[in-house]
Amino acid sequence: MENEELVNKYFEQQLSEEEKVVFESLLQNDSEFAKEVAYQKNVKKAITLNERETLKQTLQSFESNKKQPKKTYQFWSIAAVFLLFFGGLAWFQFMQDSPEKLYQEYYQSYPNVVAPTVRGDNDRNLKSDAFYEYDSGNYQKSLELFSKIYVDEEVDYALFYQAMSLMELNRYDEAITTFDQFKTSENNAFTPFVKWYKALSYLKINEKEKAIQLLKELSEKENPQQQMAKKLVAELE
C-alpha cells in the first residue's frame, strides 16, 4: 500500500525530496516495483496516443469535408455575375466607394510570428515586451518599442511590425514611409507581406493606381500572397 501511494504521488508530481529518494532506491532494488512503474508509464503513453489519434481523426475530418463550401462559393460567383449584369447603375455607384470596402474585406492583422513566446516573468526583454503589446492590441506602445528595437538593431521584423502598428493606428501615410525603408529583396520572407500591406495602405488613402501596381508585382511570381493579390487586382480593375 505504501508503495502504491508513492507511485500515485510520482504521477501526480507530488513527491517530496525524501520520497524521491525512497522512490529512486525502490526503482533500483525492487524489481516488482520497477515493473509496476514501467507498466503504468506505458498505460500513460497508451492513453495519450489513443487520445491523440482520436483528435487527429477529428481534425482530419475538418479537412476532408471542406469541399462543400466550394460549391456555395461557385454559386455565389455565378450570383455575382448576374448581379453585375442587372445591377447597372446601382452597381456602378457601389463601386465608387469600393476601395474602403475592399480594404475592410482584405485587411487582416498580421499575426505575431516572430517571437511566439509564452511570457514568464523572468525572461522579459524589449522584444518580448514589444510583441506582448502588439498581441494585446496596444499598438501605440508596440509602435514605440518596435521603433526602438529598429533604431538599436536594424532588424527587419522590427521595421515590419512598426509599420503594422502604424496601420492598426490608422496612420497609413507613415506606414507607407516605413514600408519604403525596406530593402525588398527576393529572399526576404517579409517581402511579399511588405508589398501586400503597403498596397492595402495605398488603397486606404485612395491611391488606387499605386496599390494596383504593387498587387500586380505580387501576382506575377509565386509567393504566399499571390492568390490574394490576384483576387484583389481583379476586383479593383
Binding site: 510570428v113 513566446t117 511570457r119
Partner: protein, 178 residues
C-alpha cells in the same frame, strides 16, 4: 474580442465546435507563416494538426490556465517548435537566429507507436469499461490529481477512488495477458 479563459475552458471540455473554430481560424495564418520553411503543404498541415492537438492536451492538463499571450501566439509557437523538430529529423538546417527559447512541455511519443506492448495496451484500453477509462484518462492523460478526480467524478472518498483505479489497472493487465 474572444474571451480567452472561456475559450480554454471550452477546449478542456473537448467541445468540437470550439476546436473547429480554433483550427480553422488559425490555419491560413499558420501556413502563411510556415511557408518559409522547406516543407510541403501536406506536411505543414500535418504539423499544424499536431500543434492543435498539443494545444488541447496542454489546455486539459491545466498548463495554459495562466497563459499571458494569445492562443494564436501560443499555437504558432508550438507549431514552430514542431517544424524545427521535423527539420532536425530530416537533418535540415534550422535558421540559427530563430532557435529561441520557447516554454512548452510536450512528450513526443511518436517512437513508441511501434512498441508491441504499447500496441496491445492501446487496443485493450478500448475494451475497458467506461468508468475505468474515465478514471485512467483523467489521471494519466489529463494529469489530474486524485483529489480533483474524486471531486469531478463524485467519489465518496479518496480510498474508494484509489481502489477503483487499481482495479482498473488490474483489469487492463488481465486483458493484456489474454
Amino acid at each position: 474580442m474572444i474571451n480567452v479563459p472561456n475559450l480554454i475552458e471550452q477546449l478542456k471540455s473537448g467541445d468540437e465546435k470550439t476546436i473547429r473554430k480554433i483550427y480553422e481560424d488559425n490555419k491560413n495564418g499558420f501556413l502563411l507563416f510556415a511557408n518559409r520553411y522547406t516543407l510541403d503543404k501536406e506536411e505543414l498541415i500535418d504539423i499544424y494538426q499536431d500543434a492543435v492537438i498539443a494545444l488541447i492536451e496542454n489546455a486539459k492538463k491545466g498548463k495554459i490556465d495562466e497563459l499571458k499571450s494569445s492562443l494564436t501566439t501560443y499555437l504558432f509557437g508550438i507549431g514552430k517548435f514542431m517544424i524545427f523538430q521535423r527539420l532536425k529529423k530530416k537533418n535540415k538546417t534550422i535558421p540559427s537566429d530563430e532557435l529561441e527559447h520557447f516554454e512548452f512541455e510536450y512528450d513526443d511519443y511518436s517512437e513508441d507507436e511501434i512498441n508491441i506492448q504499447l500496441i496491445s495496451l492501446r487496443e485493450n484500453l478500448k475494451k475497458l469499461g467506461e468508468q475505468c477509462l474515465k478514471v485512467l484518462t483523467l489521471f494519466y492523460y489529463e494529469e489530474k490529481k486524485l483529489d480533483e478526480i474524486q471531486m469531478l467524478l463524485g467519489y465518496a472518498n479518496k480510498d474508494v477512488l484509489k481502489s477503483q483505479k487499481s482495479r482498473c489497472l488490474k483489469q487492463l493487465k488481465d486483458l493484456t495477458k489474454k
